[in-house]
């Protein structure tokens, strides 16, 4: 892994206008993505994972906008992009995306071949027979059998797993540097999930891709990620290497998230779930957004937003618990159990 960030987000704020009211979906997020790594962004639904990555490609819905902050990529600030022409330089060729639901990601009226070929023609600057040849190669590479026949078929003739392979082929055909996978396996059944994940991993190595994973499946994270960013209420509250976040988590929300892993459950007892609901993003959030649901919350958590405290060079968390003045609080017992499980 290279130490230079390929993509650097600073103090990003994203807002949406919804039925006349303004909602802050991303509340001043900063994160670096490094060349060649796989970064997993985890968090519950509505925490802003997808919105964050959509800003990298200018794909926010029409009612959303970047309020402030910057997204540095290749010497440019993507947050300042206004015209579609600027974005066309980035989309596909530099940053490509794989969506969650392969059943709806492909146009029902065009053959698989034509849809992948569209990307080949656009980004590899070839036409006709050569474009078709390359399309067939990519399709074969992502594990689609009998490509000559499959090339001429429509999406409805493919299974979910096969369609997701096609979507991945389409992304690869763009020859991107960064591949964003927005919950790529959520809509697939478990056996297919493993196949798709290993396909993405293989392609990452082969093409030296930087992969950003969006997921709420911690199993996927453990399998795929070098680094983890935990999001809560539009903010990244903890980042670190996979081991650091799994075995030495610092933020109480990360504790709670890990606590809800079914593997940690005790037979006969109810599985752990986080009490309360996420905060209302229409209102301004004061202090630590997780404080109302956090039994370890300090008084200061309701008053001031915590800054990032570094735990190690690669590991930091946004919680007052790391302030030297805070009382010493031990993480819950199950976090230690997680460590022991790993040791075994």
């Amino acid at each position: 892994m290279d130490k230079n960030p390929i993509l650097s987000v600073k103090d990003l704020v994203v807002r949406f206008k919804l039925r006349g009211r303004v909602l802050t979906a991303i509340r001043s997020v900063s994160i670096d993505v490094f060349q060649g790594e796989s970064l997993a962004i985890v968090g519950e639904s509505g925490s802003g994972k997808s919105v964050l990555t959509k800003t990298f490609m200018g794909l926010l819905d029409n009612n959303g906008w970047i309020e402030s902050g910057s997204i540095e990529y290749d010497g440019k600030d993507l947050a300042k992009f206004k015209t579609e022409k600027e974005w066309l330089e980035i989309r596909g060729g530099k940053i490509a995306m794989v969506f969650q639901d392969p059943m709806t990601s492909l146009s029902p009226l065009k053959t698989i071949g034509k849809q992948v070929e569209e990307a080949v023609v656009l980004h590899q600057k070839v036409k006709g027979e050569e474009a078709k040849k390359r399309t067939l190669e990519i399709l074969a590479e992502v594990g689609i059998p009998d490509v000559e026949t499959r090339y001429k078929q429509y999406p409805h003739e493919f299974s979910g797993g096969m369609r997701q392979r096609v979507v991945i082929a389409m992304a690869l055909a763009c020859k991107p540097q960064i591949l964003i996978c927005d919950e790529p396996t959520t809509a697939l059944d478990v056996t297919i999930q493993a196949q798709i994940l290993s396909l993405i991993k293989r392609m990452q190595e082969k093409y030296n891709l930087t992969v950003i994973f969006i997921t709420h499946d911690l199993g996927v994270v453990a399998e795929m990620a070098d680094r983890i960013a935990v999001m809560y209420a539009g903010d990244i509250i903890e980042t670190g290497k996979c081991d650091e976040v799994f075995f030495n988590p610092q933020h109480p929300y990360t504790w709670a998230l890990l606590g809800s892993l079914p593997q940690l459950g005790v037979k006969g007892e109810n599985l752990y779930s986080i009490a309360g609901t996420p905060p209302n993003l229409f209102k301004e959030i004061k202090g630590d957004a997780f404080a109302p649901r956090n039994k370890y919350a300090l008084k200061v958590d309701y008053v001031a937003r915590p800054p990032y405290f570094s735990v190690s060079e690669t590991h930091k968390a946004r919680t007052w618990l790391l302030d030297p003045r805070s009382p010493k609080i031990e993480p819950p017992e199950y976090i230690r159990r997680l460590k022991e499980m790993e040791v075994k």
């Binding site: 794909l59 579609e84 639901d101 990601s105 146009s107 009226l109 065009k110 569209e118 656009l122 992304a171």
Partner: protein, 317 residues
């Protein structure tokens, strides 16, 4: 091969539908008052003479006998003879030129409806909530909310008072075609624009449109190669119907502008109780509806690869 099989199967089922519909229409016509058959002098006829006339027309036979002979004649292409409208003339000879007139108006207005309506819908969808979209919506709302009779009249009066165009149609004078064609087109433009916009907006929110954008296609390309194609499928089904229905003409517009077309013919035939002629016109209209649905389904199959041809399910009969 699949296509052929599907079309033949679908055609057979359409024929059955047609048979049932035509028989129903024929039998319903038997319930109509019989005064029409006696012509203008009917009031002074002796009952015996009236009975004689009905008997000669075969109208006193039991209904099933009449139905059989009706189908016999129909299979030979005989729609019967007019009684009042033009006594003794075959219905086919009366209807023929009328269809030609209606078709001339209909096809021009159909072209306008599609050439103006569909792009308007596309434009509205592409700039949703923009000025064009808002104005378009106002137009659609007005056309749908105000009874057609009202704006037809306004157009007719306005056209003749302000531009000095003749209020009624004169065959051979092209300028007199302008107002009726506008009247015929306004509704269709609104309908086409409304649905095209709706389908486009639906498609634009689909995942595959976002993915097409994410792979770097410009919005123009996405709109034309993905959105419009998908949005057009539901429109394709209704296209054959609108083509065929140009033949039927418009009851109201044709009466208003005195156009000697099919719509006006039906109105006159009913008013003058020319039962055979009414029957012939209604038969023709029903046949047109059945055939247009058949063509609509076939058009849909051609446009949409997802429709399975072999199962033969899901089509309308």
């Amino acid at each position: 091969m699949d296509m052929l099989k599907y079309s033949i199967g679908r055609l057979l089922r359409s024929l059955i539908t047609l048979f049932i519909v035509l028989s129903m229409v024929f039998l319903l016509m038997r319930l109509m008052p019989v005064e029409g058959y006696f012509g203008a002098r009917g009031d002074n006829m002796a009952p015996e003479v009236k009975e004689q006339i009905l008997k000669s027309l075969g109208l006193l036979d039991p209904w099933y006998k009449q139905l059989v002979s009706f189908w016999g004649r129909l299979l030979h292409g005989d729609l019967g003879e007019s009684i009042v409208y033009r006594r003794g003339a075959s219905c086919a000879s009366i209807i023929g030129p009328k269809i030609a007139t209606s078709f001339r108006f209909g096809i021009v207005s159909l072209l306008i409806q599609n050439i103006v309506g569909l792009p308007l819908g596309v434009l509205m969808a592409n700039k949703k909530n923009g000025v064009v979209d808002k104005l378009g919506n106002v137009y659609i709302l007005i056309i749908n909310a105000v009874p057609a009779a009202v704006y037809y009249l306004l157009l007719q009066l306005g056209g003749s008072n302000i531009f000095g165009i003749s209020m009624i149609y004169r065959p051979g004078d092209v300028s007199t075609m302008i107002l009726p064609v506008i009247c015929l087109s306004l509704g269709g433009i609104a309908t086409n624009a409304m649905w095209m916009r709706r389908y486009m907006v639906d498609q634009m929110n689909m995942d595959y449109i976002r993915l097409a954008k994410a792979k770097g296609l410009s919005s123009k390309k996405v709109a034309f190669s993905h959105v419009v194609r998908n949005a057009f499928i539901p429109m394709a089904q209704s296209l054959p119907r609108s083509i065929i229905f140009t033949l039927a003409g418009s009851l109201y517009v044709e009466s208003l502008f005195s156009i000697p077309g099919m719509g006006a013919l039906l109105v006159t035939a009913i008013q003058r109780q020319d039962n055979t002629l009414v029957q012939a016109v209604v038969l023709l209209f029903s046949a047109m509806s059945v055939v247009s649905m058949l063509l609509g389904d076939i058009a849909m199959v051609i446009c949409d690869p997802r429709i399975k041809l072999t199962s033969g399910k899901g089509g309308r009969v």
